[in-house]
Symmetry: C2
Subunit: 314 residues, 2 copies
């Protein structure tokens, strides 16, 4: 059964089953999903979209669960998109983590949805953005997107949010080294979770030292706060929630606005490129088949084949 | 110093430093890299490209190292592309694995190259394909592409090879369940490594049972062989090497040909789409900026913005 316009309205009106069906439609049926999204614009762009990422084992799901509790105590309705791993190789362990979020299962103010990264090649960020739109329109704010923290697809999800939280845990000490090359540049808020463990203070100091070395100035991202939490006890979770909420508070809309503008730009470009490519290739299937044979056999290189198609020679 | 035509020729002639520079150029400089690739077509498409994937801890690097030894004893020159994780979160452990491959460091018949998946969003398969082209042209055959086995980017690499080897290890028994959703459908050869561990026989039986349930018929992929190996002792490695070599043997070229044709088609499409988009958007920067503002503020949905651009209204 496909959701009708009635169902979409019901989803936005608080019917959880209708919302679940609307999310499934948007994830799986591009045409009907686009129609549904086009009908959702009223009230959209309200929710603060928070991405939570970091290495496996840092305690992301437990922390997200604690954050949900903090927001719920303020009466906020929280949507969660949990990005599942592409390969399902590590599915067992990660699904186990997610089970920690079930403490909010009976709460109508919390909606948790899994988003499989497999099959969404190059499109995971777009899928996350579409699903977040639905949760946003249904009145969930914030919408948290939790990734598994490895893989390009999951990294791309960072592009779909207003605020990126990087969750780390005290480890062998090489974390900071490893992270120098990675996601740390994209973090708006950095959390050292499991702060009751040995090495947390040293890690906090190392992170702060690393941020001080970054270039500063107008136009460059500000130094992210480094917060200590122990998600299992709730220590530090209120401070983290406040650090997130302040980003959408008075006078801060401009910074998020620039990011939302860039996101809108990227979404439009992706949609236009997709439609233009579909129409263009429809006319050139035979020419492409011939050139592919030449490239596969080593007679022609890919760049030359592209040039022939573009010049109309092929 | 950029490689010149002379350097490219030297790389193909067996100069390892020139080869390393050529690979760096192809990875980092699209324009000069494309020129170099265009000059490499002679003798290309000869190498058997073997992808090795599977969950962390299955022993992929040890197995690849043992396979290299097996091919070397037959006088084959082996190229290896080791895909490093996107996020660098788990970089330490994985680099540790890779160190096992250093037993071939002094051997001129083996060339190992790392390929960082970070930053190559949507382009990891293309980058792997370009670098494999260079190794292929330099006379390495087979070229092994080893992934870290998680994340969409790494999954995409499967598209860049002739033969995909899925490496598993006996675990808690839920591996097969987890894999039902994943890469197992793309595997041409399945290896149960660490076969000296408890549960290897049971895992082999479960995998074979799973493959028997798959649909069979003309046009559908044949049932992949399931092989047992113990990479640390070398047990089963010769049989695996033979199972790989037979795929490029007499009378089998046709099956690989179809896959190579599909790969060539995909590469041409990606290159053409990239060039068409660059030219088209160059003319429409202002219109896009205006529509992005409307989408970001919730006044317009992304699909409608795309329609306006395509119709020339914007």
């Amino acid at each position: 059964v496909q959701p009708s316009g009635h169902d979409a309205a019901a989803a936005l009106g608080g019917d959880r089953r209708a919302l679940a069906r609307a999310l499934t439609l948007v994830e799986n049926d591009p045409v009907a999903g686009a129609r549904l999204l086009a009908g959702l614009r009223v009230g959209l762009g309200r929710a603060h979209r928070v991405g939570v990422t970091g290495p496996p084992g840092a305690g992301k799901s437990t922390l997200v669960s604690a954050l949900i509790g903090s927001w719920r105590r303020l009466g906020r309705r929280v949507g969660v998109l949990a990005v599942d791993p592409s390969s399902a190789f590590t599915g067992g362990a990660l699904l186990g983590d997610r089970i920690r979020m079930t403490q909010h299962l009976g709460d109508d103010g919390v909606f948790v949805r899994s988003l499989a990264s497999r099959g969404a090649s190059g499109g995971l960020a777009a899928a996350a953005e579409d699903l977040a739109d639905v949760l946003d329109a249904a009145g969930y704010d914030p919408v948290v997107i939790e990734t598994v923290g490895v893989g390009q697809g999951e990294m791309d999800v960072v592009q779909a949010v207003d605020t990126t939280v990087l969750v780390l845990a005290p480890g062998g000490g090489d974390d900071v080294q490893a992270l120098k090359a990675g996601l740390i540049e994209m973090a708006d808020v950095v959390v050292v979770n499991q702060a009751d463990r040995a090495g947390a203070d040293r890690m906090e100091a190392a992170l702060k030292a690393a941020f001080e070395l970054r270039a500063k100035g107008p136009g460059l991202p500000p130094e992210p706060p480094v917060l200590l939490t122990t998600a299992t006890t709730g220590a530090g979770v209120e401070a983290l929630r406040e650090a997130l909420d302040v980003r959408v508070g008075e006078g801060r809309a401009e910074a998020l606005g620039a990011r939302r503008l860039e996101r809108a730009r990227r979404r439009i470009v992706a949609e236009v490129d997709r439609r233009r490519a579909a129409a263009w290739w429809h006319e050139r299937a035979d020419a492409l088949a011939g050139l592919a044979r030449d490239v596969a056999s080593g007679r022609l290189d890919c760049g030359a084949a592209a040039s022939r198609l573009l010049s109309g020679e092929a």
